[in-house]
């Protein structure tokens, strides 16, 4: 990652970047110490429950590129490329004995299928020695019936966590873990305020590192580093560029953001799971513990995967306004389709508020050279149109 001097000179940022770039660093340390680690797939796994049980959580991830023979063998065409790569790592033994279990939330349909396939693989091909796979079957539609059902679902997950931990987990421990997670969320919000400030002092790429590193490191340490970074970054140099909001596919590396920011933009917000959505909404520690967790994970801002078009239009309008964005980039990977149905209505609503849009759909992962060139052209054309007052 290309670093500004201010970031390169920041001890906190360098430590976050190290965890972001070497994502097994903490995982291996924990395993060497005999501690338990749970792999997380899906953005709706309550980290509070794992932390309360003394279990470390690491997000399952994959990087673009390379052959995926097992994904090609087991998965149909309709699985998006990032999930294909994640599946490959889970099945090919990359994680090996590093994980004591995996938990998958139904944050997208494709993850539901992935869970079903892993479950069936464990049944039919036990020689693959996959870790235990737990599943959280949220109901995201907002009504009382589903809210109450979700509490039962989480109670079952709590039992699974206790099995992994080999002990019971008390309400007090969950409250304590929730407070810690809230502290980290607040720290990230403070840092993000420096990105949404006018002018910004933290770039989208830097924020991506700050958030993403937390998916692979100790919660408390991450919170401390983010708090330290937020203090330091308050005096970082101001950034120039068109304020761009990013909506669409998760970005698990900084390449795309850096390319965009080199093109004359500053990414001041995003709605994907490796970005702002990670720290949105606190867990209310005044509520009974499971109800509080349902409140946080069920009632966060609507993701494009589990929402209606009207909900997403309203959500994006609000997020863009809060971030003070001047333009929005819609970016989706090939076979990652749900947001495609939101896009025309979202674009219409944004345009009516004078917000410009740039659209890139069916993108490969990694981007092909041609896609990259075309996206740069679109970014440039948008800048020129703005300058010409169109």
């Amino acid at each position: 990652m290309e670093l500004r001097d201010c970031a390169a000179n920041s001890t906190a940022f360098r430590r976050l970047l190290a965890a972001y770039e070497n994502r097994e660093m903490y995982l291996r340390e924990w395993k060497e110490k005999g501690e338990k680690v749970i792999g997380v797939l899906g953005a709706d796994v309550p980290e509070e429950l794992l932390a309360a049980a003394g279990l470390h959580a690491v997000w399952i991830y994959a990087l673009p590129g390379g052959n995926l023979p097992l994904a090609d063998q087991y998965l149909e065409y309709a699985f998006d490329p990032m999930v294909r790569a994640e599946f490959e790592k889970l099945v090919d033994g990359t994680y090996g004995a590093l994980l004591d279990g995996i938990v998958i939330s139904n944050s997208t349909d494709v993850l539901i299928r992935l869970y079903l396939y892993l479950r069936e693989l464990k049944r039919t091909e036990p020689e693959r020695a996959l870790p235990d796979v737990a599943y959280i079957d949220w109901l995201f539609s907002r009504n009382l019936l589903y809210q109450q059902y979700n509490e039962k679902t989480l109670a079952r997950f709590r039992e699974q966590v206790e099995i992994w931990a080999g002990r019971s987990v008390s309400d007090e421990e969950i409250v304590e873990a929730s407070s810690l997670c809230n502290r980290r969320r607040q720290a990230l919000r403070t840092l993000n305020a420096l990105r949404t400030a006018v002018p910004p002092r933290v770039s989208g790429s830097e924020m991506l590192v700050a958030i993403g590193s937390g998916l692979f490191m100790d919660v408390c340490e991450h919170a401390q580093l983010i708090e330290q970074l937020a203090q330091e970054a308050a005096s970082w140099p101001e950034l120039e560029g068109v304020r761009l909001y990013y909506t669409g596919s998760a970005q698990v590396t900084t390449e795309l953001y850096q390319m965009i920011e080199r093109s004359g933009y500053v990414i001041v917000g995003e709605d994907h799971d490796w970005g702002d959505r990670f720290y949105e909404r606190d867990t209310n520690t005044d509520l009974p513990v499971l109800r509080a967790l349902v409140d946080r994970y069920m009632l966060r801002e609507f993701s494009s995967k589990k929402s209606l078009v009207a909900q997403r239009v309203k959500a994006l309008d609000g997020l863009v306004k809060t971030a003070g964005a001047e333009a929005v980039l819609f970016f989706t990977h090939v076979y990652e389709e749900p947001a495609s149905w939101d896009y025309p209505s979202q674009r219409e609503s944004l345009h009516s508020s004078g917000i410009g849009t740039i659209h890139a759909a069916k993108m490969h992962w990694p981007l092909t050279a041609q896609e990259c060139a075309e996206l740069k052209d679109k970014l440039l054309a948008h800048l020129q149109a703005r300058q010409e007052g169109k």
């Binding site: 079903l116 039919t124 079957d137 539609s141 059902y149 209606l308 939101d342 896009y343």
Partner: protein, 442 residues
């Protein structure tokens, strides 16, 4: 494949023609009712339509209507309308067809000769659009469809089965309670009550539990005839009918389930096929190879199923459309709790269709019962709802010695279909995987 080419499909059963004629007349009657101000619901196939039947709320099922639009060769026009409105024109064809139709300003118009421009004169204006959240895209499409029509949108949730019974088809019709997680069933019953309250408020009609029990019994009666029909065809060699007849006869009547007409039609279908079987009638006199079709029907090219009969004696004799009625819909002991029995039908649709090993084990059992020589399996490219563990299905069948051809195609979007190359693909499969295998075994 030229979309405008006339299908050369040959159907032989009276019951198939009767179902088509009835459905068409029913549809035109429905249009009249809607024009007079009746409530009209547009439902996805996995919505518990028995509730609507019991409340006398007329409905059209999305998958059936998409099939009609596909058969009427409307896809090119519709997907162009989507593209012009800013939507992708290559997504979710099965679910997006009706939404695309709603964008057509000519849908209810006629040409200079007075011929309707929309399929059967176009879909009447629904007042309700109901789906389940069994796919990340589907609810959005239904919502857009509802907005376009000024209809009220309603969605029901979906839960994933934790129980994974292997041979559910043996006992589920009686012992359904034990095959589903209790909390899933409890939730589904509450969801039904919630939807009933919504429909009562929306339509002013009262839901009567006794009427639902009658509907459920009629559904059981209809599906039992399908079971007898499926079993009869499985026993016959050569088979008296192929999927070209059974798909059309069953799919259309299935959307009328819970009516006396549908139950009687199912009995008539059985009796007609029984008479053919008793007289030794063969759908394909030179039947040599029995083929199973997995996946949705190729609605825009139904003649495809018959292209391998003369040359190879290869007969598509099994599809899910008849067999799912036979094995997955019957729920006895209705009177105790009709809502719970209904819940145990509709929450299971996703399980047995799209979830291994529910689906893979069933297909294997069906392949054995029907003495299948080869399986042709259509997997849509970009429909996540139809992602159902094709690897596991293929492996389960092939481990049992039944070859499987998987290919990518779309059930309603004819633009993605090349009849010649698909025919060659299946011919190659028959020659190299079925005939050669049979020769080797001899």
């Amino acid at each position: 494949m030229p979309e405008k080419s006339k299908s050369s499909v040959v159907k032989k059963l009276r019951a198939t023609a009767q179902a088509s004629a009835y459905q068409k007349q029913w549809f035109f009657d429905l249009k009249q009712q809607v024009e007079l101000g009746a409530e009209f619901a547009y439902l996805n196939a996995d919505v518990p339509m028995e509730i609507f039947r019991a409340m006398d709320i007329p409905f059209v099922v999305n998958q059936w209507w998409a099939a009609i639009c596909g058969a009427k060769q409307m896809s090119s026009k519709y997907y162009e309308l989507l593209r012009r409105a800013g939507y992708r024109d290559d997504l979710c064809s099965y679910c997006a067809t009706a939404f695309a139709e709603s964008l057509d300003p000519d849908d209810r118009k006629t040409d200079a000769q007075g011929k309707p421009l929309g399929p059967w004169g176009g879909l009447p204006q629904p007042t309700l659009a109901v789906t389940r959240l069994t796919c990340d895209c589907q609810a959005k499409i239904f919502e857009l469809f509802a907005r376009q029509h000024g209809a009220t949108f309603y969605a029901m949730e979906n839960t994933v089965a934790r129980k994974v019974p292997l041979d559910w088809f043996d006992e589920i019709e009686d012992d359904w309670e034990s095959f589903y997680d209790t909390d899933r069933l409890d939730l589904a019953v509450e969801e039904l009550k919630q939807m009933i309250r919504f429909l009562e408020t929306k339509t002013g009609k009262m839901f009567d539990i006794n009427r639902l029990a009658e509907v459920m019994e009629l559904v059981n009666e209809q599906e039992l005839w399908y079971k007898k029909t499926r079993d009869l065809i499985a026993q016959c060699a050569p088979v008296p009918v192929t999927v070209v007849d059974t798909i059309n006869a069953v799919m259309q009547a299935q959307w009328q389930r819970g009516t006396r007409w549908a139950a009687d039609h199912a009995r008539g279908l059985y009796e007609e096929i029984k008479a053919l079987a008793d007289s030794g009638e063969a759908a394909v006199p030179n039947e040599k190879y029995r083929l199973m079709w997995l996946g949705r029907g190729i609605w825009h090219d139904f003649a495809f199923y018959q292209r391998f009969e003369q040359k190879y004696g290869a007969v598509f004799m099994w599809s899910m459309y008849l067999a799912m009625g036979a094995d997955a819909y019957i729920r006895h002991n209705v009177q105790e709790d009709p809502l719970r029995a209904l819940a145990a039908r509709y929450i299971g649709l996703e399980d047995f269709l799209h979830m291994p090993p529910w689906n893979s084990r069933w297909y294997l059992q069906q392949a054995k019962q029907n003495r299948i020589d080869g399986v042709v399996y259509m997997v849509p490219e970009n429909c996540m709802q139809a992602v159902e563990g094709s690897y596991f299905i293929k492996k389960t069948l092939e481990d049992a010695g039944i070859p499987v051809l998987i290919f990518k195609a779309d059930p309603v979007d004819a633009r993605k279909w090349n009849a010649q190359s698909m025919t060659e693909l299946v011919e190659d499969f028959i020659e190299n995987r079925i005939i050669n295998k049979a020769g080797e075994q001899k």
